[in-house]
């Protein structure tokens, strides 16, 4: 078992890559690329499940660690590991990959080999971001994740793929220039790219104070664009409306949010505390701004984009509230947002494939013709707007409670307003698509409900939404171990679910 534990993370990283090579080699016939991609993603998912099965909850810090020298000068190590913060995110990436393959099963009919090869490379890149503990390796995967995404958006864009891809790439690539300079500067100061070493050195070293603030800002800037945080969201709507469904469901959110927790707050706690009020303000603006824009969209991809902006801003609020409860809520919300978005995008992709339009006004009265689609859509919608007993509620509740008790009552009330607006635009979307009089477009096509493959994915996702909603304690204790012994200056408070405050 030790052999597996000592190499599981490498296996997780290599499995999709091997699949990509295999896809590139086989002929494009009998849907072979699709089947290989499905097998690969299921294998990877199985491998990621090994982590929670053998994770030792009693032990803080990183587990399954591999640390091998990779490049001698400058000293870059292949250093990977997971803790409570990253473990479930890795599983989430593993879970969403087969969902993505199923969502692309019929949607992609040209150049399938390229599509699935790039899709699998994208998986490796994302897994690498969550696993790396060496800043250079992390940066490598971070950058690598852009390339397949941009190419696939350009190749399979719906109207103007290349333009959206260029926007997406430049928006995320240019901020990583200051990030790289900051990493290099840290290296010249400390002689290390290693996360744990740097964490100690930054906490105890004596640095030119101003420079450290700039370095922290460079980190934060790169992450904030990727999330995206309010004024930096320019790429989001275009990317959502052009990207293939399988990629749209993973493009936003978790990479940037995780990086904020791990590398911004984790490395620069003092600097993060100084800038936190700004981010709290931006997050609340983002919640309301995204929700308001989502209300007036006529295109469902764009609606989903602004809805994502709103929900991701809520998670940012949880992170920069700088409380343990907020962090737990944020990580939990990242997980549940991933699951819900996966389901919603899969269903919208099904509609788009059948009716070839994303104009909401073209739809109407679908519920009678496609009852299964409608049911799953409603379930996912309810989960998204935070109905108690479903998964969206837990994270939202934890974040809002922590904001209310330890950040500011005003911001918490404003953020709660966003939750109400979210119910408004999502339910209105359901009403316009699935209810009301049947539209001409819907009448013109023969009814064809979800296929077996899609059901095989949607049932587990729906079940997961329910389980995550009623039994959060299956996840939260593990997540809590990932919140490192927080630096003393945070004045950390822990809000228990009953509402008591514990110092």
């Amino acid at each position: 078992m030790d052999v597996i534990n000592n190499s599981i993370l490498t296996l997780i990283l290599l499995a999709p890559l091997a699949g990509a090579v295999l896809v590139a080699l086989v002929p494009d016939r009998w849907k072979l690329p699709n089947w290989i991609a499905l097998a690969t993603t299921l294998t990877t998912f199985g491998l990621t499940l090994h982590l929670p099965a053998h994770f030792d909850k009693t032990q803080p810090g990183f587990q399954f660690v591999i640390d091998i020298p990779w490049i001698k000068s400058p000293a870059i190590n292949y250093h990977v590991g997971v803790d409570g913060l990253s473990m479930w995110l890795v599983v989430l990436v593993g879970l969403l990959a087969p969902v993505g393959v199923v969502a692309s099963w019929n949607a992609i009919h040209e150049r399938r080999k390229l599509f699935f090869a790039l899709f699998l490379i994208q998986q490796t890149a994302m897994l690498g971001v969550f696993l790396s503990l060496d800043l250079m390796v992390y940066y490598g995967f971070w950058e690598l994740s852009l390339v397949p995404m941009a190419i696939l958006i350009a190749m399979y864009g719906r109207k103007d793929g290349p333009k959206a891809a260029l926007k997406f790439f430049l928006f995320t690539f240019i901020p990583s220039a200051p990030l790289l300079v900051a990493i290099l500067w840290l290296y010249t100061q400390t002689g290390s790219f290693d996360f744990t070493t740097l964490q100690i050195l930054i906490a105890h070293g004596n640095f030119p104070a101003g420079a450290l603030y700039w370095a922290a800002l460079a980190f934060l800037f790169a992450f904030a664009v990727k999330v995206p945080v309010f004024p930096l969201h320019g790429w989001l709507a275009g990317t959502f409306s052009e990207a293939p469904v399988a990629l749209a469901m993973v493009v936003a959110g978790k990479l940037g949010l995780y990086s904020m927790l791990r590398f911004h707050i984790g490395l620069f706690p003092e600097q993060a505390r100084a800038i936190a009020p700004v981010l709290v303000g931006l997050a609340v603006v983002g919640i309301l701004y995204g929700a308001c824009l989502a209300l007036v969209q006529r295109d469902f991809w764009r609606l989903m984009a602004f809805a994502a902006l709103s929900h991701l801003s809520l998670i940012t609020l949880g992170i920069y509230g700088l409380t343990l409860t907020g962090w737990e809520g944020a990580v939990y919300q990242i997980l549940s947002h991933g699951v819900v978005d996966g389901a919603l995008f899969l269903l919208l992709g099904v509609l788009y494939d059948r009716y070839a339009t994303s104009q909401i006004s073209a739809y109407g009265g679908l519920a009678a013709k496609l009852p299964l689609t409608a049911t799953f859509f409603v379930v996912a919608t309810l989960a998204m707007i935070g109905l108690p007993m479903l998964n969206g509620f837990i994270g939202e509740f934890l974040i809002l409670v922590s904001t209310f008790t330890s950040v500011s009552k005003g911001w918490a009330i404003a953020a709660t307003l966003g939750a109400i607006l979210s119910a408004a635009y999502m339910l209105w979307l359901v009403q316009r698509i699935f209810y009301g009089p049947e539209s001409a477009l819907v009448t013109s096509k023969p009814p064809e409900d979800l296929r077996l493959g899609q059901l095989a994915v949607l049932w587990p996702l729906a079940a997961l939404m329910l389980v995550m909603g009623v039994a959060p304690m299956l996840w939260l204790p593990t997540i809590a171990t990932g919140m490192h012994p927080p630096p003393a200056q945070f004045q950390v408070m822990r809000v228990l679910p009953q509402g008591e405050v514990q110092r």
């Binding site: 350009a154 190749m155 290349p162 430049l170 690539f173 240019i174 220039a177 790289l180 290296y187 010249t188």
Partner: protein, 513 residues
């Protein structure tokens, strides 16, 4: 006769120019065979002869590693890890360019034998340039390589822009070489010698300091012209556009590598004491090159012109490494040249195949949907573009990484920031091509039938060339240790005075007992 041979084989000096000797013999052999073969016969086998000779020369330079580092021919030529690094690089580039030409030159093209011979003779000059430690030999080597490349640039003489390219390159190049020669004369005037080590010894005690400064300036003009750095870059786009693409693959890499080797030698080995003079100069040239190159490339519609401006920008990134202290800068620059050469040769190889020898498809818009027409070429093009952008796990990333790490280590943080922001800018135009390649052809009203040229002939030679370029780009991006080590041991053989020790902030003061 036997005695002569015996004498030659035992003579250590000869081994010091072994690759050059092999290349010269190959070139002469190709010329002779070309003259003796009957006129109607195909000349392609001559290309294979040249490729074989170049491979031999490559092994020859590796063999030189077993020689003790030192100079030959009364201190005019040096063999060391540094020269071997560049020899191998140049021979590799020339080999790829030859393989590329083998399959893409039209069967009936005129003077094919001379074409191959000229490439090999050019390689002689470039190899000699990296080993020369005597300024007159530097000048001769530069001329050998330049004259060959001038002719090659104008090889498509039936087109309008072919001769234009050759004449522009020749006239401007001759001016630049004249500057270099004048600089050499100035330095000779000040020190009374043209041997680089002697000059390095004499410069600190020389009386005519102004002469040396002027000499340095003039020599820099000549060298920076060869590496196409701003403001000596104006020839680049026209020459790249007019020359046959396999020649551009060579032109944009091998002479540049040789010129950068010369630059390293001149400033680090010959005039290290004038660091306070050349450092700010190169800082400015680096910033100008990246910025001007990238801004101009943004506006280009022609793929070759765009890549020409991108080459100018890359010269700028490379010059950023010169801000590094001591041998770190040299190692970074050497590594960058290797990475740049691999990806640039690769991308020009793909461009050759896509647009053909006659360049029926020169514009970025012509590349639309390439990945749907030819998945292999499309993917390769995107791969090399990704490396040029500098995405991790490709050679381009580590090249930039080491260059800017050297700059940050040398205290030039602003140079690194400007450089990395520039690479963001550069991503815009590389991506424009990459995304056009990936675009679905029926999208956006591009329904007009793209000119269907016969699908490019992808023969064994081209496959080998592309495979080499891809492999090197990947190796430099994933397991760069060995190449980096070679670059570092090369850097250490340059006789650079030790860098001032910079004290890291976190070093704890040793406690006195």
């Amino acid at each position: 006769m036997i005695f002569v041979l015996h004498f030659l084989l035992n003579h250590e000096d000869l081994f010091r120019i072994l690759p050059e000797v092999i290349l010269t013999l190959t070139g002469v052999l190709v010329m002779l065979l070309d003259a003796t073969l009957p006129p109607g016969l195909t000349r392609r086998p001559l290309g294979w002869v040249a490729a074989f000779g170049t491979t031999l020369a490559l092994w020859g330079s590796l063999f030189q590693l077993s020689l003790p580092a030192g100079t030959g021919f009364s201190g005019t030529i040096e063999t060391s890890a540094f020269t071997v690094f560049f020899h191998v690089l140049i021979c590799g580039i020339v080999l790829v360019a030859l393989l590329l030409s083998l399959d893409t030159l039209p069967e009936k093209s005129h003077h094919q034998g001379e074409f191959y011979a000229l490439i090999v003779f050019g390689a002689v000059g470039m190899c000699l340039l990296t080993g020369a430690v005597e300024l007159l030999l530097v000048f001769i080597a530069l001329e050998i390589s330049s004259i060959a490349t001038y002719v090659l640039a104008g090889y498509r003489k039936h087109t309008a822009c072919g001769p234009e390219a050759a004449i522009k390159y020749f006239l401007l190049g001759s001016f630049a070489t004249a500057f270099l020669l004048y600089g050499i004369a100035m330095i000779f005037g000040a020190t009374g010698t043209t041997q680089i080590y002697e000059i390095a010894r004499l410069v600190p005690i020389a009386q005519n300091h102004a002469f040396i400064l002027v000499g340095l300036g003039l020599m820099l003009v000549g060298i920076l012209f060869k590496v196409s750095a701003v403001p000596f870059h104006v020839w680049t786009p026209d020459v790249y556009e007019g020359s046959p693409t396999p020649v551009v693959a060579l032109l944009s890499t091998a002479p540049k590598a040789a010129a950068f080797a010369l630059l390293l030698r001149v400033i680090y080995e010959m005039l290290p004491t004038l660091r306070s003079v050349w450092q700010p100069l190169l800082w400015v040239v680096a910033v100008l090159s990246m910025t001007v190159g990238n801004l101009a490339a943004l506006r280009q519609q022609n793929v070759k012109r765009m890549l020409a401006y991108s080459a100018i920008a890359h010269a700028g990134y490379l010059l950023a490494a010169f801000a590094g202290l001591g041998s770190s800068g040299i190692a970074a620059a050497s590594f960058y040249i290797a990475a740049y050469a691999a990806m640039n040769v690769g991308i020009f190889a793909v461009v050759t195949l896509v647009s053909g020898y006659d360049e029926k498809l020169p514009l970025i818009n012509d590349y639309r949907g390439l990945i749907y027409r030819s998945p292999l070429l499309g993917s390769l093009l995107i791969f090399f573009l990704v490396s040029l952008i500098g995405i991790p796990f490709t050679g381009g990333f580590f090249g930039k990484f080491y260059a800017f790490a050297a700059a940050v280590g040398g205290g030039a943080i602003w140079l690194a920031i400007i450089g990395l922001l520039n690479s963001g800018l550069a991503a815009a135009y590389y991506l424009r091509l990459a995304l056009a390649t990936a675009q679905r052809p029926d999208l956006d009203g591009v329904t007009k039938s793209t000119p269907q040229q016969g699908s490019p002939r992808v023969g064994a030679a081209v496959i080998a060339a592309l495979a080499m370029a891809v492999l090197v780009t990947l190796v430099l991006g994933i397991v760069p240790n060995d190449v980096l080590q070679a670059a570092e041991s090369g850097a250490h053989t340059l006789r650079v005075p030790p860098a001032e020790i910079s004290i890291p902030v976190n070093v704890v003061e040793p406690q006195q007992p």
